[in-house]
């Protein structure tokens, strides 16, 4: 079972310990962001030159005046240059050519220098914090695009943006949210807390983990740079014949999405391997926290679904650059192929964007209800069931497409079956709340809000899984309202719950609870006020991604736009709270045991020491044994004082 718990804190075997000067790299080999940027510029130039050298004679390039190959190679080599400049390639290259591997990474971690957070570092806790800041930045950027969209839709016929600019903004918003936010919970909280929650000192593949993060800024910048070369007109779904004929911004979409797919694959494998191999003694599968289960299943989905996406983007890039005809019906391709590939990834992906939310909800409910998780094993089965079923439902996105139309009853069945395991999540939630001693703290407010929102999202999904009702709703704002209810109302609310809940553990500072309540209520009311009318707007005949609509719908659209601005205010309250607490005025006293949780992540100092635990704890009971006489969840090995849940831990360091 749990193996390899005694690995040394140093992440490289047989090298000098952390902090030892003998292990230092020369200055020119220790990467940093500045080198990364230089590497990216050099890489872009090389790639662009190569692309021009290869393809400038192509008939296609000369006819259209756009050399997609040069841009794509520019993006790809720039990404390599960025990673090389960060030092991500040092270790594998040194290993490859047989140079003695040095370990410079552990030093900054050990002393927790600020600089460690701006480097390619191997401590999962640093990567978690990097992810948190990165994801918040991407999220806010994508949210600003949403406000631009809503501003354009203030009027039915008068326009703020030209139609092509409008589509560019729609595409940037959708793609940024759907591709960057796949890691919004797994990135910060999965990477930070999975080892802590299973009693491990480290991740299984810390280099892959760090790589998975440092790819995201590259993907983000590539995606954003699409605006400089004309944007892309396809929205986040990138349907194929259109994406093949689109302007060069489409290359940015394809490369960025492909990069993010790679980030998902390697980040997912890291967590799978960690959960399988690095559990502390006594941490049986049936004692795993539900959050870890959610991360495990999410990682499986990432590792299995994202390769299809990478393949799909690769094919489209081939069609665009070297004139293959995979999606060209005149030459044996098919316009259905991308739809199939994309949704075969895309539907598991929407559960990549739902399961982490379930995980946080089920993790926090026992803590604030002070009761065991109700029907723990059933909940685990529910999450695994959601994950498995998500691979069998993708064609419900294509009910009106004419493809495979006789299969529609089967897809209808598998899709509606998903409400069975999803219902189990609610079963566990309401069972845990039964006779609870419920503390409505800020994290709990967000979880209750999430249960409320996701319910509407899930129920509206039934209308999309049923072919006759989908005939009305497909391709309209109804769909858009549905997935915003599940992802924004579910996933984003859980994300904020996670921040309020775990930030004290990660930084030692607690966010203002008063501002947190304002944040919740403004966001919750504005969210519902924004997206509830969109169901009606869609059913009344407004397709998605249009810049013009029926005059009769202007009143509703204005209401939605104004509510969307209020969402922006809600997010601003959070940003103020976050920046004030973490950056400007971090004076709030350290709270070693903020919530009275039994979870293993609270069994160490706050913030945790570099090795997570001075002594690996031995797990003796489940994480949610509130109200029973099970005693504490874990004991430390010989010599260490026994820990009670909630006790402040003083590690001897």
């Amino acid at each position: 079972m749990a193996t390899d718990i005694s690995v040394p804190a140093s992440l490289d075997h047989g090298t000098p310990g952390p902090g030892s000067a003998a292990g230092r790299n020369p200055w020119w080999r220790s990467g940093n962001i500045a080198y990364g940027l230089v590497g990216a510029v050099i890489g872009y130039s090389i790639g662009h030159f190569l692309g021009n050298w290869i393809a400038s004679g192509y008939q296609q390039v000369q006819g259209s005046g756009q050399n997609d190959l040069a841009l794509v190679l520019g993006y790809l080599v720039a990404t390599l240059g960025w990673l090389a400049g960060l030092g991500a390639l040092n270790y594998p290259l040194q290993k490859l050519v047989g140079i003695q591997v040095t370990s410079e990474e552990s030093e900054d971690i050990e002393h927790r220098k600020l600089g460690a957070y701006f480097k390619y570092t191997l401590d999962h806790k640093v990567v978690g914090v990097q992810y948190l800041f990165g994801m918040l930045a991407y999220f806010i950027m994508a949210g600003l695009f949403a406000l631009v969209i809503r501003s354009e839709l203030l009027s039915a016929t008068r326009h703020l943006l030209a139609p092509d600019k409008y589509l560019e903004v729609v595409g940037e918003h959708g793609t940024m949210m759907m591709m960057m936010m796949t890691s919004a919970i797994l990135g910060p909280f999965g990477n930070y807390f999975v080892p802590l929650m299973i009693g491990a000192r480290r991740m299984a593949y810390p280099r892959l983990e760090a790589l998975s993060f440092w790819i995201t800024p590259a993907a983000f910048v590539v995606l954003l740079s699409g605006l400089l070369v004309g944007g892309f007109p396809t929205g986040w779904t990138g349907y194929a014949p259109l994406s093949v004929e689109a302007t060069m911004g489409q290359d940015a979409y394809l490369v960025a999405f492909g990069l993010m797919g790679i980030s998902m694959i390697i980040g997912g494998f890291n967590i799978i391997a960690t959960v399988v191999n690095y559990r502390a003694p006594g941490m049986t599968w049936m004692r795993l926290p539900l959050f870890v289960w959610a991360m495990f299943v999410t990682s499986l989905l990432m590792a299995l679904a994202a390769p299809i996406l990478v393949g799909g983007t690769y094919m489209t890039l081939m069609d665009r650059t070297v004139q293959t005809a995979l999606f060209d019906v005149n030459h044996g391709g098919s316009s259905y192929l991308w739809q199939d590939l994309y949704w075969f990834f895309g539907h598991p992906e929407v559960y990549i964007l739902a399961l982490p939310g379930f995980g946080i909800a089920l993790e926090l409910l026992p803590v604030f209800a002070r009761k065991p998780a109700f029907a723990y094993r059933t909940a685990v089965a529910g999450m695994v069931g959601v994950g498995m079923l998500s691979f069998f439902v993708w064609q419900h996105h294509l009910f009106a497409s004419g493809m495979n139309s006789d299969m529609r009853p089967v897809i209808m069945l598998t899709t509606e079956m998903i409400s069975f395991p999803t219902g189990i999540i609610y079963l566990t939630a309401i069972g845990t709340l039964w006779r609870a001693r419920l503390r409505m703290t800020v994290p709990m407010l967000f979880i209750i809000g999430m249960l409320f929102n996701f319910l509407i999202g899930g129920i509206s999904g039934v209308f999309l899984s049923d072919v006759p009702t989908d005939a009305v709703a497909h391709g309209t704002f109804f769909v858009m309202a549905h997935f915003h209810y599940t992802i924004m109302g579910g996933y984003m609310f859980a994300f904020f719950a996670g921040i309020y809940y775990w930030l004290p553990k990660m930084t030692g500072h607690q966010l203002s609870q008063r501002l947190g309540k304002w944040h919740f209520w403004v966001l919750f009311i504005a969210f519902n006020s924004t997206f509830l009318p969109l169901f009606a707007i869609g059913e009344l005949g407004m397709p998605r991604r249009v810049f013009e609509y029926q005059r009769a719908l202007q009143g509703l659209n204005d209401w939605v736009s104004i509510s969307a601005y209020v969402i922006g205010i809600g997010i601003l309250i959070f940003v103020y709270n976050f920046v004030k607490t973490v950056v400007i005025d971090p004076r709030t006293p350290l709270a070693a045991d903020t919530w009275g949780s039994r979870g293993l992540e609270w069994f160490t100092s706050t913030p945790p020491v570099a090795t997570n635990f001075v002594h690996i704890p031995e797990v003796v009971s489940g994480p949610y044994e509130y109200g029973s006489d099970a005693g504490p969840m874990a004991v430390l090995d010989a010599g260490a004082t026994e820990l009670r849940p909630g006790a402040t831990v003083h590690e001897g360091n």
Partner: protein, 325 residues
């Protein structure tokens, strides 16, 4: 139901599990009965997409049924959450040292089994209902591919045997064109159809993926290049038709409208005869009617001989379709 373990001491007059459950149950039941009746009888007849066609009416009925079934589900969770928040809260700022645990209930087999049976049965009945409605309405107005298996009476794959009025909807960036193969393959920019007539919409595209959506007729079928996507519909009310593109197809997707009219059968005959006469010279310039059109290698015209289907329908002499009574 649930094991009545004595709650933590100090609570005044703690209710039993059964009492809590029956309170929740009664509130839920009363609200559900009232709201389900309101949804079904008051809201249902006004639900989109209206009653302008057989398909729209069917979809409206399906919307109504699903909304009615969803109502008690939503209400149960809402009532339960409200009940928990009102009855089982302690102060949020209780110091950690003073926290007391709730009862250690780890599960309840009866409750879990009931929950799963109810959700399972609901899911299965939704599936059966949806499939029945889909098959009964010959695809409920959705695009059903090149060879639909749920077809209305009078339909035949063989074009010469087909008794439906065929209207081809051709999407291209960024407009809709309609062809009437049984009337010499004439092209119009407006969709005109007779009321009470079963119509076969053959939807295809010349470039990227579009989606033909006649909003008030309840017809939605993707237009893919190289594909003949068939949907069936029968309009019942004389009046205007709103057509939009429901799949992102490029810059002017938002402006890809078309309009149309549902007219009486006599008016339709008059209109189509006038169209045929007015455009009799232009028709000779059109490519022969085909299930779909592929560009020729010189990029100029559309070549129906590239059609790989057996027996491409080809131009049909101007005969009126058999009107299904």
């Amino acid at each position: 139901m649930m094991t009545a373990k004595a709650g933590p001491s100090g609570e005044p007059a703690e209710l039993s599990d059964r009492q809590h459950l029956s309170r929740i149950g009664i509130i839920w039941l009363v609200l559900s009965v009232v709201c389900m009746a309101l949804v079904y009888f008051a809201w249902g007849p006004h639900m989109p997409p209206g009653t302008d066609s057989v398909q729209a009416k069917g979809q409206q009925f399906d919307n109504t049924v699903l909304a009615t079934v969803a109502t008690p589900v939503i209400l149960f969770i809402w009532v339960y959450l409200a009940y928990v928040l009102i009855n089982w809260r302690v102060r949020a700022d209780t110091p950690v040292a003073e926290l007391r645990d709730g009862p250690a209930i780890r599960g309840n087999l009866r409750f879990q089994a009931t929950w799963m049976i109810v959700t399972g049965a609901t899911v299965l009945s939704m599936f059966i209902f949806g499939t029945y409605e889909l098959v009964k309405d010959s695809g409920s107005g959705t695009g059903s591919g090149q060879a639909p298996i749920w077809t209305p009476a009078g339909y035949s794959v063989d074009a010469s045997q087909n008794k439906l009025l065929v209207v081809q909807a051709i999407g291209q960036q960024w407009r809709w064109t309609f062809r009437y193969p049984q009337f010499g393959g004439i092209e119009t920019s407006q969709l005109v159809i007779p009321a009470g007539q079963e119509i076969q919409y053959s939807v295809t595209s010349l470039d990227v993926i579009h989606s033909f959506w006649a909003t008030n007729l309840g017809i939605k079928a993707d237009a893919n290049p190289g594909v003949n996507n068939i949907a069936f519909g029968q309009a019942t009310k004389i009046g205007p038709i709103d057509i939009r593109c429901a799949e992102l197809c490029g810059v002017w997707h938002g402006a890809m409208y078309a309009t149309g009219q549902v007219v009486s059968r006599n008016d339709f005959q008059t209109w189509i005869a006038a169209e045929q006469y007015a455009h009799k010279d232009l028709i000779t310039f059109l490519p022969p009617y085909a299930d779909f059109y592929l560009p020729q290698s010189d990029g100029g015209f559309y070549d129906p001989s590239a059609n790989p289907l057996p027996n491409p329908p080809g131009p049909t002499p101007a005969t009126s379709p058999t009107v299904i009574p």
